[in-house]
């Protein structure tokens, strides 16, 4: 099938820088901000954002974690569920501002599962959502707070977003 590149590695870098500044602006600094990447695609996004944020404000280290939502999905038993790496949340989420990160936002079902899973680690003050690509086709009332690029797609297309770029197949 034809494959087209929508964003280059440079575009991704610029998008991450912009999102990082938006996070600082929206939260009036980085006090209490933590990043949680959704397994598997959102983990690199959280790591990359963490680096940019450190460059912007080295005085406020931003803890980075990762979350596997397999056991909170609403399609358990309907299709095979293969967990990613084990969840790693080394910080308390009580009172924190959690920025969930993912590569591609599609139906919103993974984010719903993540919101539920987060509750088991504490009660954040607020949860925000940062994604590299919003490809539409939402099936739940969920919207991102920070978006790298809004990308109109058809349902059967496959979108991948890595630090190397965004590709539609």
């Amino acid at each position: 099938m034809a494959q087209r590149t929508v964003l280059s590695a440079d575009d991704i870098r610029r998008a991450l820088t912009r999102i990082a500044h938006e996070i600082v602006e929206r939260n009036h600094g980085l006090d209490g901000v933590v990043l949680v990447g959704l397994q598997r695609g959102g983990v690199w996004v959280a790591d990359a954002l963490g680096e940019v944020l450190h460059g912007i404000d080295p005085e406020h280290p931003v803890p980075v974690g990762s979350l596997d939502v397999s056991f909170h999905r609403d399609d358990v038993g309907i299709r095979p569920i293969v967990p990613g790496s084990v969840t790693d949340i080394p910080m308390s989420l009580d009172g924190a501002t959690v920025v969930l990160t993912d590569d591609v936002l599609f139906t919103g079902r993974t984010v719903r599962a993540a919101l539920e899973a987060l509750n088991e680690y504490g009660r954040p003050r607020a949860v925000q959502l940062a994604v590299i690509v919003d490809r539409g086709h939402r099936e739940l009332p969920i919207r991102p707070d920070y978006v790298g690029k809004n990308l109109p797609t058809s349902r059967d297309e496959n979108v991948s977003a890595t630090s190397e770029g965004v590709v539609i197949r």
Binding site: V76, I78, P80, I81, V86, E120, Y121
Partner: protein, 314 residues
């Protein structure tokens, strides 16, 4: 994978995948709220025709952590006492809506038989002298984490000591450990070894002391006291002198070696030292890991959909 009946049905890859899934379940168990909604609405029934504390409670806890409903079928107060057959019992409970039966039975092969009478998943929680697959999986997981052997047991030396003949734990463990590449030696008096060990990929020894310094894992089995009545052992004291873990023997173990026991322990017989004072003892860790392993098994059978990737390659 629809049922878990025997380690024989699993390939090394299947076992590894199950242990990887167990890592996730161990993480779930370590959360402030150790419960996930994965198996909401599934009904898991324990059907124990033999006594058990840890296995039954362990399965029960595992099912609850995955939000499944659980039902304990107490055989002693059931219609089995009025002469209801195993088949009628299964069909009756199945009619109430059951997704999985966790079965322990004194007859080898009973769980296999039950698969014909119900469309629910069957987990073998011990059948006669035959198999106890979740025990073997939790033992593998305990060794994997205790010795940090994530990829293979290649080169590990494991001794299983005690009543091999009547032990479903030994049968399952031998299969699982050797599938992962470990070298297993069975240590027992001749009367407690099976009549034939043909096809068992193991060595046999009657001399525990000679093996001790080279072991990575010392696995002690329970001496079933009822065996004394069968005159298979001259006395418990003699067994203890030859095969029990005494202070002298514990001192000769390598510093990294693990000491394991499936429980319940006969203190003063197969284990003379207090396990709490034994640095290598992972006996309680086995119990903790048992819950996580059983979560992984239940999730694989009930939560992965029909296209589960575990158990299809054997």
């Amino acid at each position: 994978m629809k049922h878990l009946l025997s380690i024989e049905d699993l390939s090394a890859t299947d076992i590894h995948k199950m242990l990887e899934l167990t890592d996730h379940m161990a993480e779930v168990s370590s959360r402030p709220i150790p419960k996930v909604p994965a198996l909401r609405g599934k009904n898991v029934v324990s059907l124990f025709f033999e006594d058990s504390t840890r296995t039954r409670t362990s399965f029960d806890t595992a099912a609850k952590r995955l939000s499944a409903d659980t039902m304990n079928f107490a055989v002693s107060s059931s219609s089995v006492n009025k002469g209801e057959s195993l088949r009628d019992t299964i069909e009756t409970i199945t009619a109430m809506g059951v997704d999985a039966f966790v079965v322990r039975h004194k007859s080898s092969g009973a769980p296999q038989m039950i698969t014909r009478w119900t469309n629910a998943s069957i987990v073998n929680a011990g059948d006669g002298w035959h198999q106890h697959p979740t025990q073997a999986l939790l033992d593998c997981y305990t060794i994997r984490t205790g010795l940090n052997r994530r990829d293979s047991f290649e080169g590990l030396r494991i001794a299983i000591v005690g009543d091999i003949k009547h032990s479903r734990v030994a049968r399952s463990d031998v299969q699982a450990f050797t599938k992962l590449g470990a070298h297993v030696t069975l240590v027992a008096p001749p009367t407690l070894l099976p009549p034939s060990l043909e096809g068992w990929p193991v060595d046999v020894s009657h001399d525990l002391d000679a093996l001790l310094p080279d072991l990575d894992v010392l696995y002690l089995l329970r001496v079933q006291r009822e065996r004394m009545d069968d005159a298979l052992l001259p006395s418990l004291a003699e067994y203890s002198a030859l095969y029990g873990l005494t202070h002298a023997r514990a001192a000769r173990l390598a510093p990294h070696a693990l000491v394991m026991h499936p429980g319940p322990m006969n203190r003063g017989v197969e284990i003379v030292v207090d396990p709490a004072e034994l640095p290598g003892s992972v006996i309680l860790q086995q119990v903790t890991n048992g819950v996580a392993v059983r979560m992984a098994v239940l999730f694989t059978l009930l939560g992965s959909g029909s296209a589960s990737s575990i158990g299809e390659s054997a």
